[in-house]
């Protein structure tokens, strides 16, 4: 049968345990920043080679 809900699992309170990041919000902001950087780099790439 479907197991009972996990009452003990920590969610937002659980730290990402990634060096340099204390919260998941920080991880998401990093990914967002990475995405912006990739778009900027692709724009520069387009300017250089097109």
């Amino acid at each position: 049968m479907t197991p009972a809900p996990r009452s003990g699992e920590r969610s937002e309170a659980e730290p990402p345990d990634v060096p340099g990041f204390r919260t998941w919000r920080g991880v998401y902001l990093f990914v967002l920043g990475w995405f912006v950087l990739v778009v900027v780099l692709l724009t520069v790439f387009t300017r250089i080679f097109s």
Partner: protein, 564 residues
């Protein structure tokens, strides 16, 4: 393919499948079978999510897309990192807290059983039909270029994936995904290195990139607001966000990849791994295609890359004339490129501009002859397959790579086909067992051994269905597009159901169920009465489902509202 290629191909593909089956042969727990090993880490989850999304068509078609239209297609993935952040922050914690096997169980807990069955039914309808295509589409290409019987490729691929998926379920799928991704990565890096080594002396990566750029193949981003432009930053961010949210958040073949694992942290990091790597990965695959375009400016190549199709129809003198005209145009284009490279090095701006114009004109002429060849093919036989971009990369593999590497790259195609197929079968089996069989056999729910047997049988049954469908798929024209249309018709409403569940807490089961059925009917009526791009139905279905839910919840009588 020689002995070395066969050893590499069979050693990797059969070896990985056998390893997956052997390692997971003792799986007896339904939880492990449907959600994978409870100690799975973020690396395995991340690779499994990536392997599920990238089918063989990704590695066959996307280099062809780069060759034909340039790398602008990369913008289609711009919404993916944003969608994965939403899935990490909202969808995944809820799935884990409720401890569900399938995404549709969440709908049952949030709303009611009928809404759960509706969501699961929409998934089975859409993914079940697509299951045949994920075997058929790569098999038709591989069998054409290698000269193997199509039915044999379909049956062998299908049997291999059925064996290990039925044996070890989700655990076998995740285990084999890791090794299949290793084969895929090694193969794609090998192809890129060989391509760079085969470029003409003195050209190198930078020179080739400048040629590709000058010929319009390296426009990665386009900020244009023109709605007629197919790929722009805006369509990528907004359309891609919407499609990725549907796919990663509500499609069980993806949800099953990340709801297991050791903890919420592992699932989240696995998804963030994809959010960071997906765009660069697609960029590199597209760049490979653009560099293939430059390579073939200097190397002899056929006017039409699907040579089997060309030989079948191109019988008379008109086709020989097109071939001769193409060879002459390629030679002129090559001279024009060399002249431009010399002019560019001379720092004479006027000379460079003039040489560039001549090079672009020569390239356009070559493209025009290719278009003429395709038109002639269709004129000779209206049923002829006039699209050859899917055959560009495989032609390069078979004609330019050394033995051993050819086997590795063919293994890449099979590994990609098996990895996406395995996730589909595991998801179809899980959804049929958990959301349908157990719903109609509630007393059997507690019997774990029986549940396991049923889950294995449903997984095998979906595998047999997919193989059978693929065997008869050749009778249908434009099959892939038909399946994409079908997906767009149902995906929107499915996402709408989940968005209402997550973000509109006041809407109840009856309101959302009626809204979803009405929205689905509306989409179907619109599809048959309007002539708009089918991707819009994703947005229309989702928006209609949400709007109708809110409206119905507001007008329902208080008693029904309370029951809802």
């Amino acid at each position: 393919m020689n002995v070395a290629d066969w050893v590499v191909l069979l050693g990797t593909i059969v070896g990985i499948a056998a390893y997956g089956s052997w390692r997971t042969r003792h799986v007896r727990s339904l939880n492990t079978y449907l959600r994978g090993d409870a100690s799975t880490g973020w690396g395995t989850i991340g690779l499994s999510v990536m392997a599920t999304q990238a089918s063989a068509i990704t590695y066959l078609s996307i280099p062809g897309q780069g060759f034909e239209s340039g790398i602008g297609f990369v913008q289609n993935y711009f919404g993916l990192p944003l969608a994965l952040i939403v899935v990490c922050a909202v969808f995944l914690p809820m799935y884990r807290r409720l401890n569900v096997y399938t995404a549709y169980e969440f709908l049952g807990q949030r709303f009611d059983e009928k809404t759960r069955l509706l969501g699961a039914g929409l998934f089975l309808l859409q993914r079940g039909l697509a299951a045949g295509v994920t075997i058929y589409a790569p098999a038709i290409i591989i069998s054409t270029v290698l000269g193997w019987p199509l039915d044999l490729v379909i049956v062998l691929t299908g049997l291999l994936v059925i064996v290990y998926t039925v044996t070890g379920g989700s655990e076998a799928v995740a285990l084999t995904h890791k090794w299949q991704m290793a084969v895929i990565s090694a193969g794609m890096v090998t192809a890129m290195v060989v391509l760079l080594l085969r470029l003409p002396d003195g050209l190198g990566f930078t020179g080739a990139a400048h040629v590709a750029g000058a010929l319009g193949k390296l426009q990665a981003v386009d900020f244009s607001l023109d709605p007629s432009e197919r790929y722009t930053v805006w369509t990528g961010v907004f359309g891609g966000l919407f499609l990725s949210l549907s796919y990663f958040g509500t499609d069980q073949s993806q949800v099953q990849r990340y709801i297991g694992g050791a903890s919420l942290r592992e699932g989240r990091l696995g998804l963030m791994f994809n959010a960071v790597l997906k765009i660069p990965m697609q960029f590199v695959i597209l760049l490979l295609g653009a560099l293939l375009f430059v390579f073939y400016q200097f190397a002899p190549h056929p006017v039409f890359f699907n040579q089997a199709e060309w030989r079948r129809h191109a019988q008379d003198g008109r086709f020989r004339a097109i071939e001769a005209e193409h060879a002459s145009a390629v030679a002129q284009s090559q001279s024009a490129i060399r002249a431009w490279l010399q002019a560019r090095a001379s720092d004479d701006t006027a000379r460079e501009a003039s040489a560039r114009a001549a090079m672009v004109a020569a390239s356009h002429r070559t493209q025009a002859i290719r278009a003429e060849a395709k038109a002639a093919l269709v004129a000779a036989d209206p049923r002829a397959k006039a699209k050859d971009s899917d055959y560009v990369f495989i032609t390069f593999i078979l004609t330019q790579l050394p033995h051993g590497a050819v086997g590795l790259l063919v293994a890449v195609m099979f590994a990609a086909a098996l990895s996406s197929k395995a996730s589909e079968l595991a998801a179809l089996g899980a959804t049929t067992t958990i959301d349908f069989w157990r719903h109609f056999r509630p007393l059997a729910t507690a019997d774990e051994a029986r549940n396991m047997r049923v889950a294995r049988r449903f997984t095998a049954l979906w595998g047999v269905f997919a193989v059978t469908f693929a065997l008869f798929a050749g009778f249908a024209e434009n099959l892939i597009e038909a399946i994409n249309i079908l997906g767009s018709i149902f995906y929107g409403v499915l996402l709408g159901l989940f968005l209402v569940a997550f973000f509109l807490r006041r809407v109840g089961g009856s309101a959302v169920f009626v809204a979803a059925v009405t929205a689905q009917a509306l989409v179907i009526v619109m599809y048959f009465s309007l002539n708009i791009g089918y991707l819009w139905y994703n947005l229309i279905g989702c928006a209609a489902c949400i709007a109708f839910s809110v409206a119905l919840q507001a007008v329902l009588p208080p008693r029904a509202r309370a029951a809802a």
